[in-house]
Amino acid sequence: MVHIHRQTKSATVNPLKSSQPLGAALAFLGVDGAIPLFHGSQGCTSFALVLCVRHFKETIPLQTTAMDELATVLGGAAHLEEAILNLKKRANPRLIGICTTALVETRSEDFASQIANIKRVRAEELAGMEIVLANTPDFDGGLEEGWARAVAAMIQRITLPGQQAPRSKKATLIERIKGPSKQPWKRKKVAILPGWHLTVADIEQLREMVESFGLKPVIMPDVSGSLDGTVPDRWMPNTYGGTSIEDIQQLGTAVQCIAIGEHMRRPAQLLQKLTGVPYVLVQSLTGLKNVDRFVSLLSEISGVPAPAKIHRRRSQLQDALLDGHFHFAGKKIAIAAEPDQLYQFATFFTGLGAEIISAVTTTGESEILEKVPAESVHIGDLGDFEDLAGGADLLVTHSHGRQAAERLGIPLLRVGFPVFDRLGSQHKLTVLYRGTRDLIFEAANIIQANQHAPSPESIDALRKRRNAE
């Protein structure tokens, strides 16, 4: 049984967490034609924006309601309205995703009714645009919670309820509009709700695999369309690519929903409640057995056996496991990450014979923490991580772990968000057979690169025994 240590100190030292509204913004960025809007002071947005730009190396459309002192005292409804109208006028997005911050949540106004009011009064000006509200105060949760709340908010707001077979009247109507020929592929349609920790490359790989079973995946959010680093031929004030609003509306026509990561359980449950689409929760897509289960699931849904290239990839992973396990066996690994990512990487490393000597995470709410293969999990920061990681062979966390790595003299595998001092983090594959294979290579190479040549002192058993006495 994992022992979970709560945070007891007063000063957080070197935060591990990124804020909840930032997580929500990332989710909105996976939707086509979207602009996330932070309801707070302009610094809230500025900090998040700079961090996103440093991570993605892209322009990130992120706006602010620019709350000032007066609005903070009197209420922010006017600022919210002005921001929405300005964005509509300037950028004409398909969706504005409002992420509330600690500042406005501390005042605690009724944002939902304010938005409803704005929509009613400004109906004409705001026609054709969705406004979704995610309540995401910074004093609660982290990236996981923010992302999941934004996804749930989009399902709640945009997805048409009650469409799963047996077909409701509404669905029949849609079928009539779309024509009967559409019906066959809907039986093949799978809704996928990935967690925030899947990279652009992960989503691309996931889509390819699902499609290889003849299934039609609708991935929401889909950062592979919007944050994959391309060069468009004109200036874009909002996201381009990503899940379309129409696809979010039609999520209910899927035969099956697959949620990836424990934090996606709530959005998946909500989708099921609204539309009847059943969900399966996949806790990790990294590691041979996890991927095997996923492939079996796809085979079951589609009624099609796994295609030859998947056999080939599995075989490559088997070989990587064989070649790689020497480098991992008995190694001590220290991981600091949000709960689902912690689980993903902890099980990956223990699956190769390594041991997790310290596991630090951001919040204690997630049920996945009970399953982390470590003696204990600390809710804490990178200061705790540095204290606990001494003697490890490899540190695993985001770029802010670089100072700890330097001071401890232990190499660092950069995963998660933010990764600002290495290029291509979004194109790093971490899931399915291929991603697991790549991770084995990357981690093993880091470990190999930091091996010390044997010396008489390091080998001499008698000397060691003497020192121990």
Binding site: V53, N86, T106, G225
Partner: protein, 492 residues
């Protein structure tokens, strides 16, 4: 009116600010920052500004009293360099939870956090930053700091610049006020000398002040305090014993410079280390101010000699770039006095300035730029991303020099770009810094990637036919398919 509001009014009323002097008194009280437009605002808040100014103080523990985002989303993101202590790069925040806020536990948590830091790190001082939420719930950080100072026995400095009071610039100035109120003049140095100066508003980005400091060393001039770049707490606490000061980033710390002159009779001038002539001018003015304060005249000659030597070396090095850069068109998109001296040096080696922003430039600077450019339309206050993109993608410039905010506008328009703002990774101050900048411009413009990324894929231009062999010839009369279209097709 709260003490913070009094402070803000005081800062807005800055008499040494050239821009401010030209305004009517009622306008002046509104401050220099434009009101923020919801949904169309960019830039940091007052807390951000305060942190930018103070965080480079290397041996101080900077504790942010806030929920996670204020510090968690922004720590360790600046490229200022330290010659020793690293504590400033360790992030401290009270990381307030809902529980802390609801139960009114936040002041107690702050006090405990100060004690925890004192015990674990024993820094010479702790700076405590107020933020929106802690100001909103009415935490009295001044009182907490005072009590902590008494119990812990080290300076605990309240920095009262919550985000919602205004812009980054206001925060810069409030940070200066905090130094005046709590730090400068609290320690008497035992080594004050006639050649001691302060440099204000120099951030030592990428260590660039180390291009300048050796020059001052050669002149026998000692930097008592460089605020904030590579500063240590005691340097700043004893900065009031300097004889003269140079103000580098005037919009950030002009109030600090003026009040130090008022209180401790430290005369200052506004100068810049960006560009050859600007650097020479700065050195000369430092020497002149010291002489005015009674230092031996001979320093003027020594300074002139040094300037002559260093300028000759720098121009000689720059001349090597002339053949490669002559006639190349530069677009400069950044604020501050650096615009003018940059314009001058780049024109000197034959580059053409097709535009420059003058957002934060003084009236004097603007006039100099106007004369140099001969065309007023080349000067602009600021430019919307869409306009800037259009200008760049039509190849009306060969390179853009700007800050990180517009980096991807240039890159997406497939335009060479060099970072000249605070996030940059290269030192550009002083004579050698200018040579380094020109070298970077040369490397950027002549990088082989441009010819690769600007050409469309050869197979995009013509229909595939079996007979055709690969060739480098391009058809120009066919339209190219927009990459985004093919992508959208995939996404559907």
């Amino acid at each position: 009116m709260s003490s913070l509001n009094v402070k803000i009014q005081d800062v807005f009323n800055e008499p040494a600010c050239e821009r401010n002097r030209s305004k009517a008194s009622n306008v002046r009280n509104k401050g220099c920052s434009k009101p923020l437009t919801p949904g169309a605002a960019a830039g940091g808040c007052a807390f951000d500004g305060a942190k930018i100014v103070l965080q480079p103080i290397t041996d101080v523990a900077h504790l942010v009293h806030a929920p996670l985002a204020c510090e968690g989303n922004s720590w360790d993101n600046r490229g200022t360099a330290s010659s020793g202590p690293t504590l400033w790069r360790t992030s401290f925040t009270t990381d307030l939870t809902e529980q802390d806020i609801v139960t009114g536990n936040s002041e107690r948590k702050l006090f405990k956090a100060i004690r925890q830091i004192k015990e674990a790190y024993a820094p010479p001082a702790i700076f405590v930053y107020a933020t929106c939420v802690t100001a909103l719930i009415g935490d009295d950080i001044e009182a907490v700091c005072k009590r902590a100072e008494e119990t812990c026995g080290l300076p605990v400095v309240p920095i009262n610049a919550p985000g919602f009071v205004g812009s980054k610039n206001l925060g810069n100035k409030l940070a200066g006020e905090a130094l005046l109120d709590h730090v400068i003049g609290t320690v008497e140095p035992d080594d004050a000398g006639p050649y001691d100066i302060n440099i204000l508003g120099e951030f030592n980005l990428s260590g660039e002040f180390w291009f300048v400091k050796p020059l001052l060393d050669r002149l026998g001039i000692r930097v008592r305090a460089c605020i904030p770049g590579d500063a240590r707490y005691l340097d700043i606490a004893s900065a009031h014993r300097a004889r003269a000061a140079m103000l580098v980033c005037s919009t950030a710390l002009i109030n600090l410079a003026r009040k130090m002159e008022e209180r401790w009779d430290i005369p200052f001038f506004e100068g810049s280390f960006y560009g050859i002539t600007a650097t020479s001018e700065a050195l000369r003015q430092i020497a002149e101010l010291l002489v005015k304060k009674g230092t031996d005249q001979e320093i003027l000659d020594r300074t002139d000699t040094l300037i002559a030597e260093e300028e000759a070396i720098a121009w000689k090095k720059l001349e090597e770039y002339r053949p490669r850069l002559e006639g190349k068109r530069v677009l400069i998109n950044t604020g501050g006095v650096k615009s003018w001296s940059l314009v001058h040096a780049l024109m000197e080696i034959g580059m053409e300035i097709v535009g420059t922003s003058v957002k934060k430039s003084t009236v004097e600077d603007k006039e100099r730029i106007r004369q140099a450019l001969k065309d007023e339309h080349q000067m602009f206050e600021s430019m919307a991303p869409r306009e800037l993109y259009a200008l760049l993608s039509e190849h009306k410039a060969d390179i853009m020099l700007s800050g990180g905010r517009t980096q991807f506008i240039a890159l997406k328009a497939k335009m060479p770009w060099v970072d000249i703002n605070q996030e940059r990774h290269r030192p550009y101050a002083g004579y050698d810094g200018m040579v380094e900048l020109v070298r970077q411009i040369d490397l950027a413009i002549h990088n082989p990637v441009w010819s690769q990324v600007r050409e469309p894929a050869p197979w995009e231009d013509r229909p595939a036919t079996k007979e055709q062999l690969p060739s480098t010839r391009r058809d120009t009369d066919t339209t190219r398919v927009a990459p985004s279209k093919s992508r959208q097709a995939r996404c559907r």
